[in-house]
């Protein structure tokens, strides 16, 4: 279990305890986090679950592999150094307290 917080650009927040093993795209859509779509179900084909990871947490969320790195080129809001596709971040106890910022497409 990990408590995950999504922070929106309008200042609102959603905080949820997420079961270990779920990816954070699934957790976001189940909890109505806006702008996280996850159309492809987490198979790295749609780039619609883009988040910015709080820099302090970035290392703990794991490595970005080549496919994710390429798919991050396709996001609606341009990627930054702390960009991840949240379908590739898997809930685990060491992520308890993780903060994600949700970009809002224009």
């Amino acid at each position: 279990m990990a408590n995950i917080t999504w922070k929106m650009e309008d200042g609102s927040e959603i905080s949820v305890d997420v079961k270990d093993g779920l990816n954070l795209m699934e957790a976001a859509t189940a909890n109505n986090v806006p702008h996280i779509e996850g159309e492809c179900g987490g198979c790295l084909s749609c780039a619609t679950c883009h988040v910015f990871v709080d820099p302090e947490w970035l290392a703990k969320t794991g490595e970005v592999d080549d496919i994710e790195d390429t798919m991050l080129e396709m996001t609606d809001v341009e990627r930054e150094d702390n960009s991840r596709l949240s379908c590739q971040i898997i809930a685990a106890p060491e992520l308890d307290g993780l903060v994600l910022y949700v970009p809002e497409p224009e």
Partner: protein
């Protein structure tokens, strides 16, 4: 009290419509009616990770069942709608229940075509693959050492072949056309997948016509081919395409021709009835098309929510698709319909490749095999309306990112 918006069919299009309706804050009540016992779920993993046994059923659900109740969405599962009474704005279930609607959204999907019963289509051990129930019936038969015969070399058949090989089954795949994927892809894409499957031990037989399945005691035991040859099989998967579920709409007098005809707002000729996903037939750049894809279902469902919220929007989404077979990820962007030129771009490794489809100078679509860059930048290039010359794309030294940004 205003009647709710009724959504018939609990698939990807329904899930997408509902999520957007709620995100937009539209207060109108929703009733979701589906004939399966599950909330809307993802179908693509059925022929991949779910069949392989690597994904629990609940993870297929696009959102958990409780989510719908939490949002105030009424759900009626295991309920088949058998009639639309347009004059009364009602739908009727097989149990005779009548539901009033203010707007009706048909997300009835498509069904897998089977083989005719006369040639063995209804024997025990013969399967099609479209639903959780199909997989739950079929998966216990996927045992190492058994011989699976697949009829049809489309994506479903090829994905199932990959899973079967991974589980240790012997696999023979019959394709009546000259090559697998002939209807949907260029020669180079077919060749890539022919090699992939041959390398993994699938016996691929193209230009091969099935005459009938053979049986013993009501169970399939093999097949008879047009060549006169007979082959043995313990189970058979039929993957010969899908047909839209239009009976309900057609019986209500809605215009149906390879799907329910809709306009650019996904509306039928009846201003209170919409259709989305596999069951809809729409105009794209002057061609009437129907797509069986997650992208199309999700984007059309999404669009209808915007339309019903009073927004002036039309459907222009760029299609995309994917398939996973063994360690190969195929990603497709665009529609290659009407192409007159294909260009092969060598991949970054021997096991990767992309195929670029043109009509004249216009880039239409890209098939990317283990080449996510071709997919991602191909998508940007097409979305940007750019049409790089074929010889530039074919040159592996060309930086695709710069083409996309130019």
């Amino acid at each position: 009290m205003t009647a709710p918006i009724v959504i018939v069919g609990a698939g990807q299009a329904a899930a997408s419509f509902i999520a957007r309706h709620i995100a937009l804050g539209n207060p109108q009540a929703l009733l979701l009616v589906g004939d399966e016992p599950h909330p809307p779920y993802q179908r693509p993993p059925l022929s991949k990770k779910y069949l392989l046994g690597e994904l629990e059923r609940e993870r297929l659900f696009i959102r958990p069942l409780e989510w719908y109740a939490d949002q105030g969405v009424e759900t009626r599962l295991q309920t088949s709608i058998v009639e639309i009474r347009r004059a009364d704005k009602q739908v009727v279930s097989s149990a005779g229940e009548v539901f009033d609607y203010d707007k009706l959204i048909l997300c009835t999907g498509s069904h897998a075509r089977g083989l005719p019963a006369e040639i063995g289509g209804e024997l025990d051990g013969v399967f099609t693959l479209r639903s959780i129930a199909d997989i739950d019936r079929m998966a216990p038969e996927f045992k190492a050492g058994r011989h699976l015969l697949i009829i049809g070399g489309g994506y479903i058949g090829l994905e199932a072949a990959a899973v079967a090989r991974q589980l240790g089954l012997e696999v023979t795949l019959l394709e009546v056309a000259e090559r697998i994927l002939q209807r949907v892809a260029a020669e180079a894409t077919s060749s890539f997948f022919r090699k992939l499957h041959s390398d993994h031990g699938v016996e691929l037989r193209e230009s091969t016509r099935l005459i009938r399945l053979r049986e013993s005691g009501g169970k399939v035991v093999g097949a008879e081919l047009a060549s006169g040859e007979s082959i043995d099989a313990d189970l058979v998967l039929v993957g010969i395409g899908g047909s839209p579920n239009v009976e309900l709409a057609a019986a209500a007098g809605l215009d149906c021709d390879n799907g329910i005809r809709v306009d650019a707002t996904c509306k039928t000729a009846d201003a209170d009835i919409f259709a989305a996903g596999d069951c809809s037939n729409f105009d794209r750049n002057g061609q009437q098309i129907r797509l069986e894809s997650v992208q199309n279902a999700a984007d059309q469902g999404d669009l209808i929510a915007h339309v019903l919220a009073g927004q002036d929007v039309t459907y222009t989404a760029l299609p995309w698709f994917w398939s996973d077979q063994y360690d190969c990820k195929l990603q497709i962007v665009g529609l290659n319909l009407g192409h007159d030129l294909t260009v092969i771009r060598p991949g970054s490794s021997e096991a990767s490749l992309s195929v670029w489809y043109y009509r004249g100078q216009q880039l239409l679509a890209v098939d990317a095999m283990n080449e996510p860059k071709s997919y991602a930048f191909g998508r940007k290039i097409i979305e940007g309306g750019k049409n790089p010359a074929p010889e530039i794309v074919a040159d592996p030294a060309t930086d695709l990112k710069s083409l996309a940004m130019k």
